[in-house]
Symmetry: C2
């Protein structure tokens, strides 16, 4: 496994693989890899000749007030983990080459980027879509793997790829959880031991919602109220949003039907956590 830092070098390496008829699988990350990321790398390893993992804490998806500077970074450990999973290349570019002085071009998947997390993070998904498109152009993967934990991100990337005719297949893999149900996230390490215990309330609220739907509840207001109640019992928790939306358009659902997404963002102390569940009445309703 090699680590590549330069844009020219990753592009020419990937072109060589492509010209040799190799299938490239790609996992885009911000590093500090956890079992959620590793599940994506494992899947990519299974399905491709070459596996490339990018590690880049993308400044354009953080607002000035957000945690760009303190976002955890641990390239040394990430290299060990990627090697263990059989990745072929880590691509770890520098911000000054990804966004040189005078950088001006952004990709906007409008509407999908303004709801849910986009409400409190208005420029976030513009930054995500832009960096993912840049990485796709550099790596030219056949298939790229994203985690369902970032549900809105997955919907937006799929939409961008379809709209812009980007020749990359997007696969979205299930959320990986801790033993008690907490969704794996690099931001979990911000939590104090006490906060860590309370953070399980996100997945517990989702579990309750799923149970209600299984028992026949279809009114989303009632479901959201119950979830809200569960979370508000925790003093340390502050709800950003709880929403039930259609999976494709991310518009609000009033009565559960077919495929929808229950998504929530909750501050546990100073740490903003997200979680979600897909409801498919045909499958698990």
């Amino acid at each position: 496994m090699i680590v590549i830092r330069k844009l020219k070098q990753i592009y020419s390496s990937c072109q060589k693989y492509k010209n040799a008829g190799k299938r490239i699988g790609f996992v885009a990350t911000m590093g500090t890899l956890h079992p959620g990321h590793l599940s994506l790398i494992k899947k990519a390893r299974k399905e491709n000749d070459i596996v490339i993992v990018s590690i880049f804490v993308n400044p354009s998806q953080f607002a000035p007030s957000e945690d760009f500077k303190k976002y955890p970074r641990n390239l040394k450990k990430d290299i060990v983990l990627c090697k263990k999973e059989g990745a072929d290349i880590i691509f770890a570019p520098e911000a000054k080459e990804m966004y040189p002085a005078g950088y001006r071009t952004f990709v906007d998947v409008s509407e999908l980027s303004q709801c849910l997390c986009g409400k409190s993070r208005p420029m976030h998904f513009r930054g995500v879509a832009t960096v993912v498109l840049k990485l796709f152009n550099l790596v030219q993967p056949d298939t790229a793997y994203f985690g369902q934990k970032d549900a809105q991100q997955a919907v937006i990337i799929k939409k961008m790829v379809a709209d812009l005719n980007v020749p990359v297949l997007i696969k979205v893999m299930p959320i990986v959880r801790e033993g008690d149900g907490l969704a794996m996230s690099s931001r979990n390490r911000y939590l104090s031991p006490e906060e860590r215990d309370e953070a399980v309330v996100l997945s517990r609220a989702l579990k309750e919602a799923k149970m209600m739907i299984k028992q026949g509840e279809r009114n989303t207001d009632i479901i959201i109220q119950r979830m809200r109640g569960i979370i508000m019992r925790k003093k340390i928790a502050k709800i950003d949003y709880i929403s039930i939306v259609y999976l494709d358009g991310l518009n609000m659902v009033s009565a559960i039907s077919d495929k929808c997404l229950i998504a929530l963002a909750v501050h546990i102390g100073k740490t903003r956590l997200i979680d979600n569940a897909i409801i498919d009445l045909k499958k698990n309703g």
Copy 2:
């Protein structure tokens, strides 16, 4: 030469060529081809194994008030011309496949898109950048050829390609002019015979500016005033803008230096025409 209408088909055809190691040259047009377009096709023919010409009147670059509906279309004649120039494929997609219901993704090269023509056509370059990126993703050209007539478009496409790491080489070819100096444009056919005669005033004003610079004038206000005077003598002409800007950033120049662009847009009757000249003091100052 074949005409392809379907997105899947153009992509798979181009992939076959690429896998066979062929170099693809690409000319994106809105059809109604004139000698300006043909000069791009000729150049592409000279430099590539495969030449693809797209013909698509792109709705997303027209404002509702603009001439999308009446924009001239003549695919039959365009086919004859492309065949004569030795193009291999005409790609003429349908708008409903390029922008299906629920289309949401746009590419914005901010700042560069707001000045010059962007002032009176605020969404125009967003539409141009978006469709060009879509076409690049479908055709996957090695080199794409654009005309210097649309100077701002050329700057924006170059910037988008650099910023988004799009692996396409952009070549910008000189303006092709009528005998009297009028820049070739599909919109020239809107002009009445009288308007056609008067339209030469754009290139005449540029010629005067170049002469002044050759004689040592460096003050852009004085140059623009002189150009303004020449055009305003024509009753039928209404100036949209006359600007002298740096070629890369498109920001205003106060004293001519190095490489800059003199650009203007003028309404001749109801028809908005553009023209420009590049000043390179090292070459022609």
